[in-house]
Symmetry: C2
Subunit: 583 residues, 2 copies
Amino acid sequence: MDYQARTSDIHFILDKVLQAPVQLQGLQNLAEIEADLIQQVLEESGKFVSEVVAPLNRVGDEVGAKFDSGRVTMPPGFRDAYQAFWQAGWPALACATEDGGQGLPAVMEAVLYEMLSGANHGWTMAPGLLHGAYECIKHHASSELKAQYLEKVATGEWLATMCLTEPHAGSDLGLARTKAVVQGDGSYQINGTKIFISGGEHDLSDNIVHLVLARLPDSPPGPKGLSLYLVPKFYSDGTRSNVVCERIEEKMGLHGSPTCVMRFDDATGWLVGEAGRGLNAMFVMMNAARLHVALQGIGLLEAAWQKADAYAKERRQMRAPAQAGGRSKSAAEADFIIQHPAMRRILDTQRAWIDGGRVLAYRTAIELDMVKHHPDTERKKAAERWCSLVTPVLKSAWTAQAFSGGSECLQVFGGHGYVREWGIEQNVRDSRVAMIYEGTNEIQAIDLLVRKVLSDGGAGMALLMTSLEQVSEYYKNNSNIGNQYAGYMPKTLIKLTEELVLANRNNAELAFWVADDYLRAVALTLMAWAWQQIESAVDANKANSTLDTARWQQPAEALRYFVMPEFDMRVQIIQARLTQSKV
Amino acid sequence: MDYQARTSDIHFILDKVLQAPVQLQGLQNLAEIEADLIQQVLEESGKFVSEVVAPLNRVGDEVGAKFDSGRVTMPPGFRDAYQAFWQAGWPALACATEDGGQGLPAVMEAVLYEMLSGANHGWTMAPGLLHGAYECIKHHASSELKAQYLEKVATGEWLATMCLTEPHAGSDLGLARTKAVVQGDGSYQINGTKIFISGGEHDLSDNIVHLVLARLPDSPPGPKGLSLYLVPKFYSDGTRSNVVCERIEEKMGLHGSPTCVMRFDDATGWLVGEAGRGLNAMFVMMNAARLHVALQGIGLLEAAWQKADAYAKERRQMRAPAQAGGRSKSAAEADFIIQHPAMRRILDTQRAWIDGGRVLAYRTAIELDMVKHHPDTERKKAAERWCSLVTPVLKSAWTAQAFSGGSECLQVFGGHGYVREWGIEQNVRDSRVAMIYEGTNEIQAIDLLVRKVLSDGGAGMALLMTSLEQVSEYYKNNSNIGNQYAGYMPKTLIKLTEELVLANRNNAELAFWVADDYLRAVALTLMAWAWQQIESAVDANKANSTLDTARWQQPAEALRYFVMPEFDMRVQIIQARLTQSKV
């Protein structure tokens, strides 16, 4: 079955759990946001995703992008769908109105891309970098470049790439060797080879805008020597640049997205931002990309869950254990798969990760708008803190869950999961890449603990945790929703962080050993908080007869029984290393 | 890189940790086993695996088995390798000498298949069922059938299949509908469709012997109505049977093994064992198959580890954290991947699972020979208990680890892991199936807790745990190897089992909710015990200058810090459900 956008679930989270319209009301530079508008955009985008993009997922995998002598032909239907997509204005949703956009909040774009990724991860790779490229050009490019490229990228008429990785520079961009030499007219000639370039070449759009990290001849080694350049596939006079797609990779999955080796042969381009500040100019793109990848994880897990849930409800296999309600009373020889506790547990647990992830990712998108548009400095600071600390956690934990939880969903199908027929094995293959790109999950963990938490002595994390604790105390006192974990977890993390800050003074390696555990502990704390918000909203709306409370209560229970105990395990692992480092 | 059989690691476990030659000495019906013979067979089999089978792994994935009008053509090189394999006597290693075998202990066959699976999972599927088919025919077939088939199957000249699953009968074989009708000459006509038949059709061997579950017209519904039949591809007069391969499945991986849909159209076959006792006759095959699948998991994880370890030692990326010894002193811009704690942790953790799995799987194979050949009834009983309780744990936990740990090894490669080049993504795709076939991992957990542990009130598990506890107490008192877990874990499990037995009286569903956690807790206890044996053997042999003690100490440390904390988490999950069931 193809992915179906289930917009009522999403709407409940946006409107009732996060109260997005209230939060976003009155922000500068944003269109007037009302609940009706949110619902309308949701319905329209869901319709496009389900009807146009989702049906192309299988052909994207089976036919895939094809390479022939420098040209890449996308799978049947991909170009038409993309042309319809940008012409309907979807890429421009969250771009400023003066750039040809609709000025809607980032959270609406986040929801759109979550749905698109669930429907068709491969296809969605192409427009996935657009918004980051738009922000990068908007904030760093010269007015001449902006005049030529900004609106084309904002509307998505032209697609864009990020050309970072090189054969010997993956996680470590400082090793990049691509050269840039200035010309008499102020342009640059770029020479070098970039690898793993998603959508480096294709036939979806009439032009492609490459943003390329390269090194000036006199620049220092390492990341500080890198500058950013814009090199289009076609120049304004219609001539083609010397940017050559050498080949596309054979991959585990994601066959609907060409992963290109790109050669720049004296390709003419222009500097974006300051020389030597290329990583800085690209930073906005990379940050947007990380939230985007987290949304891919959530979307892919939703897609896997939809398939497994449908299969478990239609196929019978074995008797379920005899228990009131657990076993069907019919004369059938077997019960539905969903009646078996081991399978019910898998489905409810993934549901908990999806819905918790939605609350956190949408909230992060709202905070991104707060950073940009909120008038109050303190509120902006809090928003920056949230984005900085929560983004790596979302990227890492939810892409890991997309893969492991997708694999659990595959298990619901038994042998039928391993064959192509039901599409669940494609989901698992496709999702695996998200744990790697935009910074591997291990690098996200180091980013969180070493670069962000330890670097300010744990102060930022303590503030974040205290804010969660206050909210959870509020809910504990003001509703009949109790959560055994939400209060305890932030407190434990604050204390653990203090110990790590101390230990780090004498043992610089320790944090690198336990960064993954620390990130997991933070993820679970955020999950507990997110679900407390959900349960509270369900409780507040339980009189509403259209609300299916069991829909939310079952994953809440799975979370408490099967997910949360990992928190203590992670704390135990970190404590053991802390103890060892004192010996 | 291709898999390389590292026989010295295996030899250390067989000889020094398990003392296999001493254990097996003097067992009836087994050839005289001496350490020299074990080493010689190991070296020879390792050579065959590395030189003949491993180089065909990639072509097995890329070309795959091809289907055309009922015929299946295996990938280039597969038939020649198989012919060389059986002619060298490898399938007959552990078959009785009177059947054309070599009468070696089961553990030597276990080691051989672990290596084969690591080298080339797809190719190994074909001979993987041979020994089970041999045992099934030997113990249940009529003398006429034995005269025709036993030696051919023992030597592997003819390959064999297990035809169990049907389109609507996967985990639940009782739903099978294939019919058998007796003929005047005592033969049967078989009609029906079987799916997921590994090696149902191919060109590796000149004949294929199918063992088929089917139902007599007057048989009761459910599993008790099933009988087992033997239907060959070719009869003794050279005519072909009416067994048709309808198609082969498109799968996530394992492309080197054709997964066939087999149609039996009035195919003539013969009863094996008693009518209505088909599952019983097949039981020996299924049990052998489960240990075999656990060995696949171990072999595949070893293959993934070899790739990741080699890559991590040759590629530099980023600076490792500054710490004595952690960072290279050279002027290089980056350190080797293996110097990064997050990567070191992945590699050492997988090493812990591989070596612990080897100790347990080889021990189980030794216990299988005890069951068959030991003169003492009590010893036999203990061996039966070990095999019954440990086999589902090995199958489930080590196939799950092959997939998740293989995926961790992929992560070591970064983006290079997701592309085909290094072969690690094939490893992950191939390994996924082992969590499903021969009883899904969830069914293994139910088999363990519900069918085996609760059914005797926990008595068998208590005896097993007590035996581990005694051994671990012995090591605690008699060597300088302490293990913080080994004593505590068996005691905790015994107590937990008692509580589950009690709770089960009032709540038949409870065990089905926590069976996975229970199996994991047992797996970790067995791991702790296995590693205590390893550490003790390393300690006893540390004067031996050829022993690389760090090779074993690093995974032992990773086990204690990063693997063992899961035990308490599993106990916590079970305890919470126990508490809930009392409310």
